[in-house]
């Protein structure tokens, strides 16, 4: 495929366009229409693919897409201006998508860590509702880059009253990254 692309720039262009249109096909909606929206829409979908799967659809459909379609349909300006503004909007999202996703996971971890722990359904007795768990102090540590820090995060999980529940939940949600219930997750599975 690569050598074919090198020989034929037009083919390469078509290939890139096809890839753009393919990106995030589960996010494609009938709402995208016209040349003004196809390219920024495709870039925005590529950005959304970085979001945690549990929140992806909601954020894309409720926040990102309505704002993009406002730019391309309602904001003042000529069509070319709208196209440029919309494309800039989507490119900035693509550039920061990984960071945005990381922020979302940290926030989720923080929420989990201070969540009201309901003793009965989880079979956990002796834990007060609203107990702050040991990971609440430094949620970032659980998404650290270095192996040492990740080991430290795992050791904090050791002795946590909801370790098992946390691990089971992470497996259910297919957490793409981070330490949950004492285990490191990569691409939805404990390593």
């Amino acid at each position: 495929v690569i050598s074919l692309l090198m020989m034929c720039p037009a083919g390469a262009f078509a290939f890139v366009v096809a890839m753009l249109l393919q990106a995030g096909s589960d996010l494609v909606s009938e709402e995208i229409r016209g040349w003004l929206e196809v390219v920024p829409g495709a870039i925005l979908r590529m950005a959304a693919m970085h979001l945690p799967s549990g929140q992806r659809l909601e954020i894309y459909r409720e926040v990102w897409l309505p704002d993009l379609l406002f730019i391309t349909r309602k904001a003042e300006g000529r069509p070319i201006t709208k196209f440029v503004t919309g494309t800039k909007y989507s490119l900035a999202m693509l550039r920061t998508a990984r960071r945005q996703a990381r922020d979302l996971r940290r926030a989720q971890r923080r929420e989990l860590a201070v969540a009201a722990v309901a003793p009965q359904p989880l079979g956990l007795t002796g834990i007060q509702v609203g107990t702050a768990l040991p990971c609440a102090d430094d949620p970032d540590l659980f998404f650290a880059e270095s192996p040492d820090e990740l080991e430290e995060a795992k050791s904090i999980c050791h002795g946590c009253p909801v370790k098992g529940t946390c691990l089971a939940g992470a497996i259910d949600r297919r957490e793409p990254w981070g330490v949950w219930g004492g285990q490191l997750f990569l691409r939805g599975e404990p390593v």
Binding site: W64, P66, R73, R95, D103, L104, A136
Partner: protein, 116 residues
């Protein structure tokens, strides 16, 4: 851990956004308006809004339009929590004091004071 409103310390970028809300605390603001008003890109505005929302500084709602009439989906809007307005004003004042350049010192004339 308490998650109280006062716990959040505004970053300069968040401060730029909060400043727009303080111009008219009752007004609903949209993501694109905020990008326009602050000159910040989308990728900066959304994470800041999410943090402000999580800290209880902003509340969110849905634009009141009929998507079929307007030909586009309703957007999410943000509004500043009334309870946070005094804290927000105070933090902005504090930030601006921190970034204000020091008072200009009059250039010292050669030979004056005799020190150098």
């Amino acid at each position: 851990v308490s998650g109280g409103v006062a716990d959040l310390k505004l970053s300069p970028r968040m401060a730029q956004i909060i400043r727009v809300f303080l111009e008219d605390p009752l007004k609903e603001r949209y993501g694109f308006d905020l990008m326009h008003a602050t000159g910040l890109p989308s990728g900066t505005v959304y994470p800041a809004l999410a943090k402000l929302q999580a800290a209880g500084w902003l509340t969110v709602g849905r634009e009141d339009i009929d998507p079929r009439v307007e030909g586009r989906p309703a957007r999410r809007f943000y509004r500043i929590s009334a309870a946070v307005v005094p804290t927000a004003r105070w933090q902005l004042a504090e930030l601006s004091a921190r970034y204000r350049p020091p008072a200009v010192v009059a250039p010292r004339l050669a030979g004056e004071g005799g020190a150098l």
